[in-house]
């Protein structure tokens, strides 16, 4: 699938690393005589404070030093069983392949768990007031259930369907069989009374994509590997130097790298 001219792996060559020091020089030049405040003003005014000029090397690229324990890897909402089903389903949506890791290795199910535990799981910034009527498709979601309830029901229904159709737990099915189950949800050939099977699948799919590509701060996109696979550089302060150039590979940086200036 990938062309030969597309470097598959980060090999350290042809990589432009806009270090913080270099950025400060560029930005300082660009700012000229204008007095700048704002969110990044402190970076301009106190460049000497920044000792660390390179982001910490991502794990897996060089010799491993002691990897600190990741305390983020625990559950806020899912039960063990729910987590296992979500993890397996997300992996089918975004599977591991020879390009790189899939949803499971990227921590996507942890991401979904953490999201369901907060505002998003409660639909707390959405209009959830009654009355509830069935509407046209063009009018969008009109259910009374919130996402955490939708996931509890949806994951259980995946399990029920696997048991009745395949006589096995979803997590024990072969990947192709898991795909068949998910397709049955996607196409609404599973008939549910409480939620829309396709609506649940759509939410699971979009949450998986979010878990692959959101900042690692949220628990997915482990070691920025989601970004690395598609050459997305993440959080960069400036592309002024490359915007007029042909494709340039840049080592990604996360929001945590931004914190190192403090």
């Amino acid at each position: 699938m990938a062309n030969s001219d597309e470097p598959k792996k980060t090999n350290g060559q042809n990589i432009e690393q806009p270090s913080r020091r270099k950025f400060l020089i560029n930005a300082g030049y660009a700012i000229g005589g204008v007095v700048v405040g704002g969110a990044v003003g402190s970076l301009f005014r106190k460049p000497n404070k920044t000792q660390q000029t390179e982001p910490a090397p991502p794990s897996g690229t060089g010799e491993e030093t002691t990897v600190p324990k990741n305390y983020n890897r625990a559950l806020m909402f899912f039960s063990q069983d729910q987590f296992a089903i979500a993890n397996a389903a997300a992996e089918r949506i975004y599977p591991a392949d020879d390009i790189g890791p899939g949803a499971a290795a990227l921590g996507v199910a942890f991401f979904i768990d953490h999201q369901l535990a907060g505002d998003w799981g409660f639909n707390s910034r959405e209009y959830m007031s009654p009355p509830f009527y069935t509407g046209e498709k063009t009018q969008g979601y009109q259910g009374r259930l919130r996402r955490r309830e939708m996931f509890e029901i949806g994951l259980q229904e995946i399990e029920n369907y696997s048991q009745t159709q395949k006589s096995k737990k979803f997590v024990k099915l072969a990947p192709e069989e898991q795909d068949e189950v998910l397709k049955a949800f996607e196409s609404d050939s599973v008939k549910l009374t409480t939620i829309s099977a396709s609506g649940f699948f759509k939410t699971l799919r979009s949450a998986t994509i979010e878990g692959v590509y959101s900042d690692p701060l949220y628990g997915g996109n482990m070691d920025m590997n989601g970004w690395k696979m598609r050459n997305y550089p993440g959080n960069q302060m400036s592309y002024t130097d490359i915007i007029e150039k042909d494709f340039t590979k840049i080592e990604p940086s996360s929001l945590q790298d931004h914190m190192s200036a403090h």
Binding site: N3, I31, G32, G38, I93, N123, G135, Y218, Y232, E244
Partner: protein
């Protein structure tokens, strides 16, 4: 019993672009102005962690909290309107600076044709070109009359650009040169020149260089970080009311901003407004702010909703076509684009700025012959490089599954190999597209939600497919190996993001029978109420609205000062 505060000269409802501009202009002339903003304060320092696609884009961090207030929607009067429970088709701004904080900065002037669309269309193609239920109107003001105000807005904001070869005449060049040109933009420019089209650099409120505006406000150049739309600018490089006009108003000592102040009614007596009633959302207290002049500068929906809830102006009645408040809601036709996939080329799609692009107007307005076409007007066509953030941008050639092995492989392969040529289609107003108060659903304060009745018409469907074809032709010339284009425009649905360019409902015109405000944005019926913003567009153009909203705000400020001296209707 509401508490009543001391009277002020002017009260402004909503402190975004229109409110900020008017506050700045009026306080320069010594008027005392109170700005009521229902959201929170915002400042550049808020955006230190702004490169967060999940928080600001997928979770709509800067947008209005829909649990408190949304709109209801139905495609026709025959069905029940239901609430927009989650964001989709458009985003409603919130907080100081309003949508001016999280816009892209694409700053187009409308075409001379836009302002005289009914008369020019009739003159050239005859009366029958305009369907009976199409409600388009001339604005009552011409491009030439509005030009000086465009010029003022562009100098204040620091617009980077080059002259549009097919646009209206300019009195001055753009204050600063255009943005940098990426390889994708160069490819588009070369291809469209070969096709004898007229590309020009997209006018941009993301500064191409450091800039000090006529008010003495200095801002630094854009860094092309790729986080504009839905995000605030951590550099203050993107023009935003918070870093331009609001500080000028505040510095005068004449402008008091009250955040968390949710205006619910215009208070009036006879044919004059006497002030506004608002709720302090931090305490729940109801407060009356008396004022000599009331200026409505919130988003389209709330401008119209507050007028209707207050009984100010005659509500529009779609069955008779009479009345003005709620009339001529319009939107845009955005789905008429095309995406090209390049096997041999990769681009820096991750980099960009909100208004980094190349545009052309060969198929916009009446810049091409519509004799054999089943639609009027058209779209601006552009390639824009706003920064392809990875959650929301996963292009793959048509036929690719939306999940699984091939989805992953294709979206990874094409992340930096896909270029979209977009069409920003105009939207004509129709008699049966309008805004009114929902009879059933309420906001957090018990007030009715705005109800929106709208669908795509034959006009839109013809336009979308035509424009998509033109976009595909351009991509072919650009050398795309595979091109996906629109086959058919389906019904309007509120779930997919399209455009936050909602317009109308308190439209501008030359007659009180068919418009709510005159060309100074002054209400015909209540001469001390000014309603400013895209709510005054009688139909929508094929461009982003902000330059025109800004120009109308400068003109309204001039009108308010005139009114302050002489009183009465200004037109």
């Amino acid at each position: 019993m509401a508490k009543t505060l001391p009277k002020t000269d002017v009260v402004i409802v909503g402190v975004g672009w229109a409110g900020g501009i008017i506050a700045s202009e009026l306080t320069k002339k010594g008027l005392n102005v109170v700005g009521l903003e229902r959201g929170r304060e915002r400042k550049t320092e808020d955006y230190y962690m702004v490169h967060d696609e999940l928080r600001y884009s997928a979770r709509y961090g800067l947008m209005q909290d829909l649990s408190k207030e949304t709109v209801t929607f139905r495609s026709t009067e025959k069905i029940r309107a239901l609430p927009m429970r989650a964001y989709g088709s458009f985003l409603i701004g919130d907080g100081l600076g309003g949508a001016g904080v999280h816009w892209n900065g694409q700053t187009f002037r409308f075409l001379p044709y836009d302002f005289k669309i009914r008369s020019m269309t009739t003159e050239k193609y005859g009366k029958n070109k305009i369907p009976a239920d199409m409600a388009i109107q001339d604005w009552g003001i011409t491009y030439e009359e509005l030009e000086p105000y465009y010029d003022t807005f562009e100098k204040m904001a620091g617009i980077a650009g080059e002259e549009n070869p097919l646009g209206g005449k300019r009195s001055n060049p753009y204050p600063i040169p255009p943005m940098k040109k990426s390889p994708a933009m160069q490819l588009f420019t070369d291809a469209t020149k070969k096709l004898n089209l007229h590309p020009y650099m997209m006018p941009s409120a993301n500064l191409s260089q450091d800039y000090t505006n006529p008010d003495g406000v200095s801002r630094a150049a854009c860094q092309y970080c790729g986080y504009c739309e839905r995000f605030g600018c951590e550099y203050g490089a993107k023009a935003d009311p918070v870093v331009t006009v609001i500080p000028i108003a505040v510095k005068s000592g004449k402008f008091e901003i009250r955040t968390h102040s949710h205006v619910r009614r215009i208070i009036h007596s006879g044919k004059k407004a006497t002030g506004v009633l608002y709720t302090d959302v931090t305490t729940g207290e109801e407060i009356i702010q008396p004022a000599d002049i009331v200026v409505m500068t919130s988003y389209v929906f709330n401008n119209v909703r507050i007028l209707l809830m207050s009984g100010v102006g005659k509500p529009y009645d779609s069955s008779t076509g009479t009345g003005v408040i709620g009339r001529n809601y319009a939107y845009q036709v955005i789905k008429g684009g095309a995406t090209g996939f390049f096997e041999e080329k990769q681009f820096n799609n991750f980099a960009g700025a909100g208004s980094l692009g190349v545009n052309l107007d060969d198929y916009n307005g009446d810049n091409f012959d519509h004799s054999g076409l089943k639609f009027i007007h058209g779209a601006s066509i552009s390639v824009s490089q706003t920064g392809q953030r990875p959650i929301s941008n996963n292009p793959a050639p048509g036929g690719t599954p939306t999940w699984g092995k091939d989805f992953k492989a294709n979206t990874l392969k094409y992340a930096n190999r896909a270029i979209t040529v977009g069409g920003q289609g105009s939207s004509m107003s129709f008699k049966h597209h309008f805004l009114d108060l929902d009879p059933e659903y309420k906001d957090a304060y018990g007030d009715p939600l705005m109800r929106l009745t709208f669908d795509f018409e034959e006009q839109d469907k013809e336009l979308a497919v035509f424009i998509s074809g033109k976009c595909a032709d351009i991509l072919k010339e650009m050398g795309a190996n595979h091109i996906d284009q629109l086959k058919e425009l389906g019904p309007y649905e509120i779930t997919t993001y399209q455009s936050t360019h909602n317009t109308g409902g308190a439209i501008m015109g030359s007659s009180p029978e068919t418009s709510a405000v005159n060309t100074y944005s002054q209400m015909w019926d209540y001469d001390n109420v000014f309603v400013v913003g895209a709510s005054s567009f009688p139909q929508n153009a094929g461009y982003n609205p902000t330059d025109t909203v800004g120009a109308l705000a400068y003109r309204a400020a001039e009108g308010i000062l005139k009114y302050r001296e002489k009183g009465g209707l200004l037109v």
